[in-house]
Symmetry: C2
Subunit: 309 residues, 2 copies
């Protein structure tokens, strides 16, 4: 046998504010591209054609874990050669490991004629997330595979719910040149939270889901406030409160940390506000002597996909 696919999986934003650990959305255009070739035999090779540094030991690469998981789930076996053609910078907080994992899982499933369901592809991709962050999280992996906005209702068993994406839903995003370790960002969170704050958080999660179904942009904006993680994590992002005030003044409906940071994003239903927001995001960090990369993207309804070779 010899089969080859070229696959894309998008960047993603976990949490969406209030939906800490249970929600994520996929972004248009930005993402990872892998070329995967299956031939007879047994083994894995990974060739990095990007300028993004990847682990030299392929056992430490999420792609390897996902490929092994796919074989464990399906009972199949082959030699898999991977070329990494495009890669989100690791540690950016927009689901870099999830994009690789989702692309690898989706690509494997395509190479072998689709033995896994979409949900099983997510489970396969979550194996990569486990290597990257020490836990089976789906809040980046599920949107990276499935696209759109995903609610992870529960993990036992995995219950993924595709939520509606409002027609105009733009995201201005900044990746500032700050290092925030996912591990540290997780350790800083308390093991217990005040019941009062937890109640406000699930009121907001309910409001966010209602806002997405009803297309009520104002409600979405009000509901995205995070009472649990953000108060602890915003310290990693210089001038966080001031930045939010500037973005809301400019008409953005919400600003939140993407995943565990350091990327932050603003949501809006108007492209020109998203454009303005990206300028504010860039100026905010540059003004503090911090380099930053910005993107203006739509929320994508499409997750992992095949590309023309």
């Amino acid at each position: 046998m010899r089969k080859k696919v070229r696959v894309f999986a998008p960047a993603s934003i976990a949490n969406m504010g209030c939906g800490f650990d249970v929600m994520g959305l996929a972004l248009d255009e930005v993402g990872d591209i892998l070329e995967m070739t299956a031939t007879d035999g047994e083994g894995i090779s990974i060739l990095n054609e990007t300028r993004v540094p990847l682990p030299s030991d392929i056992e430490q690469n999420v792609i390897t874990r996902v490929i092994r998981k796919f074989f464990a789930m399906t009972g199949l076996q082959a030699q898999i050669d991977v070329r990494v053609c495009q890669k989100i910078y690791p540690g950016s907080g927009i689901g870099s490991s999830a994009a690789s994992s989702a692309a690898a899982a989706y690509g494997m499933n395509e190479l072998f004629g689709g033995p896994l369901s979409e949900e099983e592809v997510v489970i396969c991709a979550m194996e990569g997330e486990n290597l990257a962050s020490g836990g089976y999280h789906a809040d980046n992996a599920a949107p990276a595979v499935m696209g759109g906005i995903i609610l992870i209702r529960g993990y036992e068993p995995l219950d993924l719910i595709q939520l509606p994406v409002p027609g105009n839903f733009y995201c201005a995003m900044v990746h500032p040149g700050i290092v925030v370790s996912t591990k540290e960002a997780r350790q800083i969170l308390p093991k217990e939270v005040p019941l009062h704050d937890a109640i406000r958080q699930w009121g907001n999660v309910g409001g966010l889901v209602a806002g997405l179904y009803s297309g009520n942009i104002g409600l979405i904006g009000r509901a995205m406030q995070d009472y649990i993680a953000e108060p602890h994590r915003k310290q990693f992002i210089p001038g966080f409160d001031e930045l939010r005030a500037k973005l809301l003044d400019a008409g953005a409906m919400a600003m939140n940390i993407s995943g565990s940071g350091p990327s932050v994003f603003a949501l809006t239903d108007r492209r020109e506000i998203a454009q303005k927001a990206s300028e504010i995001l860039l100026a905010h960090f540059n003004g503090r002597g911090i380099e930053a990369e910005t993107y203006v993207v739509k929320v994508s309804n499409k997750g992992a996909k095949l590309l023309a070779q």
Copy 2:
């Protein structure tokens, strides 16, 4: 002046499992009926024509507080004479104080030509809840006024969201002859909750709202599980876990405590299952030597309303 209205406000179920303190639904048919008369002057009288015991000091009756709140909100004044014609038994856990408060607030607004918006009527009714439970809760008061299923996204400011009610949504409910004090049921809850449980809870709240919008009965049932209050409160209800198992076996999609109890309810999309569930509920408590009253009702889209005089 002399004006008279006859008003109904329904019983309600607070929490709906996972939606602890943020969700409630209104029930058809069961509820309070008040006759309210406004004449020139200043003062309040309450005549109890039911066999349900009410406080002899009218300052301890929620109706009085609601009437005073209405006058404070509107700057109006009059003599108000109230006849309580039908009353849910207090302490039943199906929103007895909220039904009186909602009927009083709605009735006052009707007597004076509707100076308050629907949301303001809820705020007025919440004054009665504050007397009854020492807090400005809306999880019974809002559905009792507005009908249907209400999400209280937040309190600062009050943000009420009317959620869709699936077409067939039956409730089998039991009020067992056990006394559970709302105060004790609240005090038994921890002030802090494990982050892990809080996350599972807001995954479920998101899932429940998604299930209501999409009419996905299976999802609604899976999502209603309460990880926060139920583990502490179920001890007040003899044989709770066994009862749930029997109801789910009979096809109910969920069973939960109504508010802080002792009433419990089962939800289903089929009337015959609701009927069967009500028999199971009755037999369960009677078999333990506990008297119980059961109801089979639809979830109502109509809250407080005028009745013919």
